[in-house]
């Protein structure tokens, strides 16, 4: 009987210690950002869709008096379309493609990484191919992720506005 009581005590103590440890771990862990629900992958953006989006984006950039580079990729980040307006900086050539790849491969606007870094989630810096700047947007069509558009040449907000104009041409 005494033996049984001792065993019970040990089990209870172990359980208590375990749950306390668990609670401690929960409070110690950083608030991990929950990824947005991602739509399923569809067939990659076609060249016709891409040129339509790019034309609308370039029209928006002209309206804003901006010289930008536009990149449109498939969900895997492979390039489908690229256009650099006259006098857009050479840095935009790279950044537009990198923003598009970020948005495609991580299935979220590249702005999300800018916000995460601002919030102190610096571990995102270790992620490959991440550009933490607004201007990259996933392209969702018919409820499916079919690619991304990346814009560079203006401010982050302007780049994203140009990108959204591109999305608008598709939907």
């Amino acid at each position: 009987m005494q033996c049984f009581r001792l065993a019970l005590l040990i089990v209870c103590t172990a359980l208590f210690a375990g749950s306390a440890l668990h609670a401690q771990q929960q409070t110690a862990a950083p608030a991990a950002p929950s990824p947005p629900p991602a739509p399923p992958f569809g067939m990659p953006v076609t060249l016709d869709q891409a040129t339509k989006m790019a034309d609308a984006a370039i029209a928006e950039a002209k309206k804003l008096n901006l010289a930008v580079a536009i990149a449109i990729t498939e969900p895997n980040g492979e390039l489908v379309y690229f256009g650099k307006m006259e006098n857009a900086p050479y840095s935009a050539t790279q950044l537009a493609q990198q923003k598009a790849t970020t948005a495609a491969r991580y299935r979220r606007p590249s702005r999300a990484f800018q916000e995460q870094l601002a919030a102190g989630n610096t571990f995102f810096l270790t992620f490959g191919g991440v550009i933490a700047a607004a201007g990259g947007l996933p392209v969702v069509h018919g409820g499916k992720l079919i690619g991304s558009i990346g814009v560079s040449g203006g401010s982050g907000a302007q780049d994203e506005q140009v990108g959204r104009a591109g999305l608008g041409a598709l939907n």
Partner: protein, 168 residues
Amino acid sequence: MRKAVLTSLAAAAAILLSAQAYAQAPAAPPAAPPGYGETINIEQAKKAAGAAVAEAKKNNWAMAITIVGPTGELVYFEKMDNTQYGSIVISQHKARAAAIFKRPTKAFEDRIAQGGAGLTALTLDGIIASEGGIPIVVGGKIIGAIGASGATGAQDGQASTAGVDALK
């Protein structure tokens, strides 16, 4: 009189000799390539790429088309649906090589096909020995280059040529 005959004989011999020497001389070196001009703008690039894509469509080829500026920097790119993924980078490489070496990439293909000293081309940075990259010359200046990839070298060259011709 005899002196005159001798002189004319000597002159004739000299002409004959020099003509022979001329015939034996290696082919004249290629004309100096044009200088570089202002970078091709997006409207021109779009026109060239559009013509290349139209040529590819007409022949039922799926291709990636790249347009670069004189320095090989990307200006414009279109990948047709179902183009093999390998062609994305190859079309960019062809365009870049044509721009930075001021010659069609077929020149490298031909040079390497000759073997021997032609193989030294393999040691040059940035070349690609495959047809399909062509400089774009407008107003006597190289303003960029076009590169096509997705079909055979000759077919890639045909699409690129259509692109270049659209700006003439």
